[in-house]
Symmetry: C2
Subunit: 479 residues, 2 copies
């Protein structure tokens, strides 16, 4: 295994077995999320309303296969994904296959989608169907009243050197995504669902789209390459009264993700515009739910950031404490070895899966200690923008980064506030930076081909060769 590790990190200058030794320490730690009062109340109400219609699905999953398959059964569009990271896309006019090199986030989609419909108080037979437009009543409350939630998670292939390459895809802590989605559903009065059933269906979906999970071109290509999965839950109720959705659709689409989320950003990191003019979340609101409305309200601020030469917004709460960075959680690192991030309890912060993993990696000692030998200390507390600025100016704050499923760990190079730009210090040795170390820890966890890694509790392994019960009569082959 060590040989594989060395290979996968060739040229990066760091190959510490420390990560692996210490990952074991956090295996037993369970992820706990501090819920806001609003979220606790929403969960209690939702579970009282939904009296158990969300058990396991008795009906078999039906699978409709794309017609565009080659002799080996691989999707024509997906085949290329196994090789050079470019994709064939079918032109809608000519039905001819064309090469598409787009690596912009979320532009290329896979062939299929997973659909589970909710009607008359229960979830109906799930289906994996060829990706096509959804037919939605124009009065649907998902389009009128923002009754829509989503999640983002990624599927990875271990590096090809290991024994699992051909038949394994990894998901990162997918149960936590589904548990967060469950809480988001409760917060927006959308139907609840059984998270284990949904995980089982997503596994099936990942098997169907496994050809689309990119393989990294080792050894020179060290970009993260993955298949981004987007589970969604929307109301399909077609009535204009503002009320709980009686019909809904859970669906999953997927998009291969090759480059970084912030294309064109300085390798030193992104620049953030701190704004107290636009506010993302507030106590008693929905800042801790992953719902559409949280994103709609951020676009103008994002454009303002671009107009001021920044990549993204640094969101402040009504007291001007820093909360999130664009669509990421936000961390700063002090010269004393404190790693600060905003606390969850008030509901202003999305409880990020990568945020939680970063905290656990550091607390579990899975990143090398500071240069002085002292361990890092994670502190979840509010940080005022003025204190952040002062900390950068007097050198007490040495690093800042964002975390999220799309961007993973994203370094912050500068913060602009009220017309002035404050640059985070440039690292003498980049590999000493905590954000780089965390990024490498994730890379190893996600791509290392070792069986030990596959057994890590954060890794959810999906066997992509269909198991006997999957290849049953319920699987229909078209074309």
């Amino acid at each position: 295994m060590r040989a594989c590790l060395s290979k996968s990190f060739r040229g990066m200058g760091v190959c510490s077995d420390l990560f692996f030794c210490q990952w074991r320490q956090v295996r037993s730690s369970t992820s706990t999320v501090t819920l806001s009062q609003t979220m606790r109340r929403a969960l209690a109400l939702a579970e009282r309303v939904e009296k158990g219609p969300y058990g396991p699905q008795p009906s078999p999953l039906s699978v409709e296969r794309s017609r565009a398959v080659d002799a080996q059964g691989h999707s024509l569009r997906a085949r290329a994904a196994l090789g050079r990271h470019s994709f064939y896309q079918r032109s809608s006019e000519t039905e001819e296959l064309q090469t598409s090199g787009s690596q912009e986030f979320g532009v290329t989609f896979t062939d299929h989608m997973l659909l589970v419909r909710y009607r008359e108080g229960r979830w109906e037979t799930p289906a994996i169907v060829v990706r096509r437009p959804l037919e939605l009543d124009p009065g649907s409350s998902s389009l009128q009243y923002g009754l829509q939630i989503f999640e983002g998670m990624k599927a990875y292939r271990p590096d090809p050197a290991g024994p699992e390459t051909e038949d394994v895809v990894r998901l990162f802590r997918p149960r936590e995504n589904l548990q967060r989605m469950y809480r988001s559903a409760a917060r927006l009065a959308l139907p609840l669902f059984d998270t284990e059933t949904m995980l089982h269906l997503i596994e099936e979906y990942v098997r169907t789209e496994a050809d689309w999970v990119p393989v990294r071109d080792l050894p020179d290509d060290l970009r993260p390459v993955s298949l981004y999965l987007r589970p969604c839950l929307i109301s399909t109720d077609a009535r204009l009264g503002v009320r709980r959705a009686k019909e809904a659709l859970f669906y999953v689409i997927a998009s291969p993700s090759l480059g970084g989320y912030y294309s064109g950003a300085d390798p030193a990191g992104v620049a953030l515009l701190a704004t107290d003019e636009f506010v993302r979340a507030w106590p008693g609101g929905v800042g801790d739910a992953k719902c559409g409305g949280n994103y709609a309200l951020g676009l103008v601020a994002q454009e303002l950031a671009h107009a001021e030469g920044c990549h993204q917004v640094l969101w402040l709460d009504p007291e001007r404490n820093v909360t999130e960075a664009g669509v990421m959680n936000f961390f700063v690192v002090t010269s004393a070895g404190e790693v600060l991030t905003a606390p969850l309890g008030e509901g202003l912060i999305l409880p990020g899966i990568i945020r939680s993993a970063v905290i656990e990696l550091i607390r579990g000692g899975s990143v090398p200690a500071q240069a002085n030998g002292q361990p890092w200390q994670v502190v979840e507390r509010s940080l005022h923008i003025e204190d952040l600025i002062r900390g950068i100016e007097d050198g007490r704050i040495v690093e800042a980064f964002g975390t999220g499923t799309a961007a993973m760990v994203c370094a912050v190079a500068a913060i602009k506030y009220r017309g002035r730009t404050y640059r985070l210090p440039e690292a003498a040795d980049n590999h000493q930076r905590l954000s780089i170390r965390l990024g490498k820890a994730f890379e190893r966890l996600l791509f290392d081909p070792g069986r030990e890694t596959s057994a890590h509790p954060w890794i959810h392994t999906v066997q992509i060769k269909p198991t006997p019960q999957v290849a049953s009569a319920s699987r229909t082959q078209f074309g």
Copy 2:
């Protein structure tokens, strides 16, 4: 005209010509909306991004007619609307026509919808088509990121006694709805549009669906009956990055509205649950935009209100000032003749068209003065929930009501806060109540058949007989 007025208000005990005399006073008043800092900035940014692609449409409107027309060309479903306020609906299974008595708000829809697509920086040829499901890419940012706004406006038929009955439909201040929609679009970085072009298209749509605008069964039926119009603007961009929509759809659907919005409410009014646990809007947010996310976040609070025996929520801001009541603006009336409502400037309040009309009616002297002869005084200022409660307890607050397009003017009977219910006083003479007087003022304005009323600046008259240029070759007749 006086005869008609008397007829339309027969049995209600009040027939004051005062309204008509004094409406003239407010004719010249232009509606001004105090914009929040956030909204001003959003407008400035949006207008800088959109450099004029939203001019008048050069292409002719195309109209696709429903197949379900009778010999006179009336929609079969709509025919009944002219009579007894029940509707025929086509069963989706059998295609047979069935009678539907549903008067729940927003359940029955008309035959057609108006569609205007935005693509490549411009609005395309508009079309009125038979109502059918929208085909939306499952990755559309309207479904993912809440990029969706809407409006609510109503079309009315003057009472049948007047000369205009057969050929006129009235809209109430539709320009203001479209101007508010324009601001909402700017706030959410959706494409801007020319409000006059959209008004022209909505007029055409109202002509197409004119059979669906209900007629009141005078003299005993004094419920408001109207055709509720729902203009929507959604992003149709199919990519997962959070960014400005490059493709969008403006559409309008319509639903006949017969009963009150709050079915089953006490005639004395609705009961409101004041909550500081759930918060609708906050400075720097989107509380003054009519976007989906503002409604999604309210459902759990609404269910909590129902669980506590109330009809709706009384929203408090972070300082516990009262802001809105459910999906309505909120007013209280003091024994000294003050009419208090929350101010707009901070962006916590939806700038309601009915709210604005109520303020202008009172300020213009269009409702009878108080019993002591003094005029009412509208004051836009914050009111703390504790002051509201104390005011009810010591008798200084004598009345409360909500306003909105769906409910028009809706009396509030009680407010529940922290486990206790505070009842507004019962009126000795109900007709003296300001909410009743305002409701009557609106009814007269909307339904009076007089030509003078049609010329009121708040009334936008649509001739429903097609004008020659409308009945052009661009109008396609199916079936």
